[in-house]
């Protein structure tokens, strides 16, 4: 049995697990994938300091780029594997529409714009909707999109901007997709670390992720169709 250690950013954990299962259905021999879940920022720090991962699935472009610049990644291993989408979500309302935000006077939860790509996109979307001026001092920021999800889920805040993928996975609340034209695309990239001892397997797995069938699975889980937006590769 072959194994891969993958550092994955929290938001992609569930899709990646499903992808591994699909892989193991399709190919022989089975691979054993060990997932280390952490926020992208944490993953980056860990990689810099010698984390024993074979691959990293980040939630942005910036950190993978930095890893590559620091010479820790294999050549030609950095690919965009998914493009995130946003959802406006509430657990206190039965129906949610973007227009609800216009009369809304309360707080809104987003991921921290300067830390998380989803946060940056959320801010851009609010700017496009001309709502940022109203909300800029009322936003509740979580360190990452998961925290935003949790803060919204408890009902402590009426609206939160989370990832569309989270919205699809969640079992409560109601939400609405935010048009991805309202913000810069949220590209999520993966790469293979130079220190890997399983380069062949990692490459094979990477090819599998980028395959059409996998991409369709990813899209079905709430990510944008990257082939349409033309951001498949940087």
């Amino acid at each position: 049995e072959q194994s891969l250690k993958i550092g994955v950013s929290a938001n992609f954990t569930e899709p990646l697990k499903q992808l591994v299962d699909t892989y193991n259905e399709k190919f022989e021999p089975d691979i054993d994938v060990k997932l280390s879940v952490a926020a992208t920022g944490v993953l980056y720090q860990q990689v810099r300091h010698g984390a024993p991962f074979d691959m990293v699935f980040a939630a942005d472009i910036k950190r993978p780029q930095l890893i590559e610049e620091e010479g820790l990644a294999l050549e030609n291993s950095r690919f965009t594997y998914a493009t995130g989408q946003l959802a406006l979500w509430s657990t206190t309302r039965d129906q949610v529409a973007l227009d609800d935000l216009t009369p809304y006077q309360g707080r809104i939860a987003i991921a921290a714009p300067h830390l998380a790509p989803y946060g940056k996109a959320s801010k851009e979307a609010l700017l496009s909707l001309d709502l940022w001026r109203k909300f800029h001092d009322k936003v509740i920021t979580g360190n990452n999109i998961s925290q935003t999800y949790q803060q919204t889920r408890t009902g402590a805040v009426d609206f939160g901007i989370i990832s569309y993928s989270q919205f699809l996975l969640s079992d409560t609340g109601s939400g609405v997709l935010i048009d991805s034209q309202l913000h810069e695309p949220i590209e999520q990239q993966m790469l293979i670390l130079k220190s890997t001892l399983n380069e062949d397997l990692a490459r094979k797995f990477q090819q599998f992720i980028l395959s059409d069938s996998s991409q369709e699975l990813i899209i079905s889980m709430g990510y944008a169709d990257t082939r349409k937006t033309g951001h498949e590769q940087q």
Binding site: T91, A112, N143, Q150, V157
Partner: protein, 231 residues
């Protein structure tokens, strides 16, 4: 992030840690006293409960607290109706969170100190007509001063360093719930290492000076008086 942001965060931190410590001393002292006196087996459970906040990871604890604080829950709704503002994402909210999270660090040292004190000296106080309040303030308090300082400094430091709970239930609102530890974490995440190092150094040195001052006070006191425990 501007430096005025940091000053604001510093202010919030000191306010939060200071108030938390104060509240913990006010709540924790009678609780510790009570726990040091009870003789039933029920004490064991009380002790375990006080220690529990430690066992949950801060963000998880924060999540459950947020559930309780949310206006959709009964306590959260009651608070909103009573005060007009939501407990979640307010300074009061992170204050309550910090108090719960740091409770064991204040209660346990005090409880042990009260237990070790015994009642010989207190009996002597009673025979000089000092009632229980009087005895507490004029005998117990000065004799356990060192443990109060330990308790307060553990509680204070722990609140300064805590950010999991605060971030979750506070939402990182500048001037309200954004504390220094969150700011520091932000800088690390945002790869502003020089700022992060600088802030971490300031935090460490500031805390060190503060702690040293506290202990110095205590030290001068202890040099003169050395209590002894006897059978």
């Amino acid at each position: 992030m501007s430096s005025s942001d940091e000053w604001l965060a510093l202010y919030t931190t000191i306010k939060l840690a200071g108030l938390t410590t104060l509240i913990l001393l006010l709540l924790g002292t009678p609780l510790a006293w009570y726990m040091s006196k009870i003789q039933s087996r029920y004490k064991v459970f009380l002790e375990a409960i006080v220690a529990l906040p430690l066992v949950l990871p801060p963000t998880v604890l924060g999540f459950y607290l947020l559930v309780i604080f949310s206006p959709t829950s009964t306590p959260g709704k009651w608070w909103l109706d009573t005060t007009g503002y939501s407990l979640a994402f307010s300074f009061t909210g992170i204050l309550i969170g910090s108090v719960i999270y740091s409770l064991p660090f204040v209660v346990q040292p005090l409880q042990k100190a009260f237990e070790q004190l015994g009642d010989h000296v207190l009996e002597a106080g009673a025979m000089l007509s000092a009632n229980s309040m009087d005895r507490f303030f004029t005998l117990v308090l000065p004799m356990t001063k060192a443990s109060f300082i330990t308790a307060a400094s553990l509680g204070f430091a722990h609140t300064v360093g805590e950010f999991g709970v605060v971030l979750m239930i506070g939402g990182n609102i500048p001037g309200e719930t954004r504390v220094l530890s969150i700011a520091l974490f932000d800088h690390v995440e945002a790869l502003n290492y020089s700022t992060a190092h600088w802030l971490a150094a300031c935090l460490l040195i500031g805390s060190m000076v503060l702690l040293a001052l506290i202990y110095l006070l205590n030290f001068n006191h202890e040099r003169n008086i050395k209590y002894r425990m006897e059978p």
